[in-house]
Structure formats: structure tokens, C-alpha cells
Amino acid sequence: MAFIEVEDLTHVYLRGTPMETTAVQDVTLRIDEGEFTVLIGPTGSGKSTLVQHFNALLKPTTGKVRVGGRDLSDPKTDLRAVRHQVGLLFQYPEYQLFEETVDEDVAFGPRNMGLPADEVRERVRNALEAVGLDPATFGPRSPFTLSGGEMRRVATAGVLAMTPKVLVLDEPAAGLDPRGKAEILGKIRSLHDGAGITVVLITHSMDEAAALASRVVVMDRGRVVMDGPTREIFARADELRAIGLGIPAVTTLVRDLRNRGIPVRTDVLTFEEAHAAIREALGWN
């Protein structure tokens, strides 16, 4: 069942001023419960603008957005309830921390939901554990004394503590070192696989997209230009390159091998698949 339905969405910034720009144009998109969707596209293609409609932070200039069957442009829809269901983590979320302690900051969301104090405490602990921070050591510390990667994880916990059904993440791994990247993406994946959370993830890394997503949506200049299963999308390498994107490193590798005459399958997305495909082509099995 589609949880988020976007219909003919167009969003124009600063309408009626000399700086008017159309960020999203005629986008129709359905995101099913339990899906892991990755949204890719060049800078300025409208990805961030699009996802801000999923929890009504932005209102469509024209078109409709429905979340869980509720029309977000209907004045009777409780937008706060929608925001509790669709958790959105912005780019560089470490800059939104403000409380005196990590515990208090993570508790901000659940408290706004009006939950009782012991429930809030419970959720804070679970959320910190989910992002790999020990609640006992990190909880009482000031968020401003943490490293960048730790701050990002606290901010992520702040969204997770609201236990959303859908988690929307805008480049959660940008600017982290390889280990930090692997950790945060691993956590997101286990939230999806384990807790069954629907995930929409924006990224510039084709490798991340290939490793995580079951479905890839490609945007270019405000429009959705491709939408389909990950393997199918990354088979269209030339089209992706034409809009300034690429394909995962391992996919590039096997395609190069094939161009040099090694009869290897090219529909691989992960290191393991590439490994198997190359062995098969060389007859090493």
C-alpha cells in the first residue's frame, strides 16, 4: 500500500518575485510501506525540496501530497501528527542541536509529542543505542563537546526517538569519514531490515545507492527522470552520465572488463556480486 503519494507536484520558490525559481515540476511518486528508496540527482535537481513535502514543511504550489491516506493540503489534517509519522533528517543535522545535554536534545521530539516522562526516557535510551552511542556516557554530556560524527548521530537519534513510520534522510553520510559513513548507513539499513521502517534516502554516492536501495528514483532539473528497481536503473549508465551522475564503482569495473573482452555479467551492484561474476567469467568456480 502506498504510504506517501505525490501527485503532479510543482513547487515554485519566491513566487511573484524577480528571484522566482521552479524547484520541482510535475512530480508524481508513490512510496510504499516498507520500501527502501534512494533518491539521486545532480545538485539543484529538487531532491531536498521534494522530500520537504513529505511532512508538510513545504506546501505544494500545485498538486497534491497524501501521507497515510491524509491529504496534507486539507486544513483539517493535523500536520503535527503527520510529522510524528514522517521523520525528516536534514543535511548536516548536527547544526540543529541546542540543548544542554544530549539526553535533553534527543528528548525534544518525544516531548513535543506529549509523551509521559518515563516513556520519553525510554525512547531516548533506545534511540541513542540505535545510533551506537552509549546512553550512560553520552547522555549527560553537552552536545557541543562532541565530535562532528557524534553530533550527527545525536541528531539522528533525535528523529528516531519519535519512532516515525517513514524516515527521510537528506545525505546522512555527507562529510563523514569512511568509518562514520559505514556506521551510520549500517544503522539505517538495520532500522529498515529489523524494525521495518520505510526509508527514503537522498545521496550523491552511487555506491551507497547500490548497496542499500531496492528502488532508485532519479531527479534532474526538478523532474523525476527515472524510477525503478536499483539494478534496472544502474543498467542505464549512459543516461545517468548524461545528467552528470554515474554508476557504482563495481558496476563500472565489470563493464570495463567486458569492454576488454572478458564475458562478465554487468548487472552487479555490490562487491560480493562483482566477485562472483568475475570468478564465473574466468571459470574459477
Binding site: Y13, M19, H84, L88, Y95, Q96, F98, F108, N112
Partner: protein, 276 residues
């Protein structure tokens, strides 16, 4: 949730127009002379002519009129207050009483005067916002720096003042954007800014103000570092990439404005007396 939509005053609107191409010093001088006239003019004809002149420049600058008018929105309250206070407390003695509220009488003369003063404010905001719409902040501060330069002899740090202004102006849109982003991030976590009494609303701003200050300090630090890394020093020996150039076009624009200003400043009665 587009803050820059509501704050048009002080914004720069890049366009290709004769007004945009003028030297910033010309524009500052022209605006100053126009502002003086606004205070000198005392009759309807004068204000009519000033309005026409202003509309002409707006058209020449290719700025939509609606955009200029939107800049008046923040001062609507000030305008209303000015009118009300001036109608009742203008100090105009005598005159025809139009209506009374309790002990305060509104006279015909008082009302006209109040409207004049309000209209003066509108013209002032109009002409000054036209200056910022057509002049990039960098040009504007360059212009101010050059105009202040003679005052250095009396210890006015012209360059430093101009640099501070440039940086402040440069960061207004950045901080607005940042505010918007932080507000959205906190709204995504269930924060509500537009409900409750004054105290509750003020408290709701803490999650916005703290990150905003933190990031403003961080930006200031980074900027200082970047400037030092490029060996920035204020002072005499600095050269500039773009020298300001006073062209014949600037001279013409300035002469036209000053002449028009002087002509407009002469009251209608004087003209009538001059006529044979």
C-alpha cells in the same frame, strides 16, 4: 516558510539596467539629494512630481513595482502610528474640526499634514530601497568607503567601517536561510512556533536561536580564518579588483537628479509669482 519573501528591504535585485550600471557614489548622492527634497516639498504638486520621478526611475531600473511596494510591508504599523499621532497631536492650532474622539479634535489641516508625513515616509523607503535593489552590497559599501575617505583625516576608519558593513550585509541572506533551515528541522521534530501566548512563543524560539548563534559564531570564525589565510589587512595600501569609475553617464544622471530636485523644491507659489 520563505523568510526572504517577506524581507525585501535591503535586497539586491540583479538586473541589466541603466540604473544598475551607475557608479554607486552617483546613486548615493542622487538618493541623498532626493531625500532632502522629500523634506523640503510641502504641496500636493511637489509630491505628485516626486512620485512621477520615482516611478520613472523604478521603470528604468526594471524592478517590478509590486516588489518595491512589498518593501513597505514592515513599516505599515509605523505608518499607521504616524498618521494617528499626527492627526491628533500635530500642534496645528485652529483649523476646521472634521471629527472628535473624546477630547482630541482632528482638524482638516492636521489630517493633511499627517498624510504628508506618512507619504514622506513612503517616498523615503521607496527611494532607499531602490538604492539597495539596484546596487550590490559590495558596490554600495565601496561607494560609502570612497565617500567617507576624506573623513579619515579626522580618524574615521573608513575602510574598516565599510568592510564591516559589507560583511554584515553579505550575511543577512545567509542567516535568513539558516534560520529557515533550523526552524524547519525543529518543526520536523514537532516544534510549534505559531501557537500559544507570548511567553510560550518566545520559549519556542530557544531551539532556533541557540543553533543560530552557534552557527553565526562558527561562520565568523571561519571567515576570519579565511581572510587571514589570504593575508587580509585593512589600510592604505590595499588595491581593488574593481575600481569605481565615474563616467560621463554618471555625471549626466547626477546633474539631472540635482536639477530636478532643485526645481521640485521650489514651491508652486514661487513659480506662480515668477510667471508674468
Amino acid at each position: 516558510m520563505e523568510l526572504s519573501r517577506f524581507v525585501t528591504i535591503g535586497q539586491y535585485v540583479p538586473r541589466e539596467s541603466p540604473v544598475h550600471r551607475l557608479d554607486p557614489r552617483t546613486k548615493i548622492a542622487a538618493v541623498t539629494s532626493f531625500m532632502v527634497v522629500i523634506f523640503v516639498v510641502r504641496d500636493f504638486v511637489g509630491y505628485g512630481l516626486l512620485t512621477l520621478f520615482l516611478l520613472g526611475i523604478i521603470a528604468l531600473a526594471r524592478i517590478p513595482l509590486g516588489f518595491v511596494l512589498r518593501g513597505l510591508r514592515p513599516i505599515v504599523f509605523l505608518l499607521l502610528l504616524t498618521v494617528v499621532l499626527n492627526v491628533f497631536f500635530s500642534g496645528v492650532e485652529g483649523g476646521t474640526v472634521v471629527f472628535r474622539i473624546w477630547r482630541f479634535a482632528a482638524t482638516r489641516e492636521g489630517i493633511i499634514r499627517a498624510l504628508f508625513i506618512a507619504y514622506r515616509l513612503i517616498l523615503l523607503v521607496g527611494i532607499t530601497s531602490l538604492l539597495t535593489f539596484t546596487t550590490s552590497p559590495v558596490e554600495l559599501t565601496d561607494g560609502i568607503e570612497r565617500l567617507l575617505r576624506p573623513l579619515r583625516r579626522f580618524g574615521v576608519p573608513a575602510h574598516e567601517l565599510a568592510m564591516m558593513m559589507t560583511i554584515a550585509l553579505r550575511f543577512i541572506p545567509t542567516l535568513l536561510e539558516e534560520t529557515e533551515k533550523i526552524m524547519k528541522a525543529q518543526m520536523a521534530r514537532g516544534a510549534v512556533f505559531d501557537r500559544g501566548g507570548a511567553l510560550r512563543r518566545a520559549r519556542a524560539l530557544v531551539p532556533v536561536l541557540v543553533p543560530l548563534f552557534v552557527s553565526a559564531f562558527r561562520r565568523a570564525d571561519e571567515l576570519a580564518l579565511a581572510m587571514e589565510a589570504r593575508c587580509y589587512r585593512g589600510g592604505d595600501k590595499r588595491t581593488r579588483m574593481k575600481e569605481l569609475r565615474f563616467t560621463p553617464r554618471d555625471a549626466a544622471a547626477l546633474v539631472v537628479t540635482v536639477v530636478i530636485s532643485v526645481l521640485f523644491a521650489i514651491p508652486l507659489a514661487v513659480w506662480q509669482r515668477l510667471a508674468p
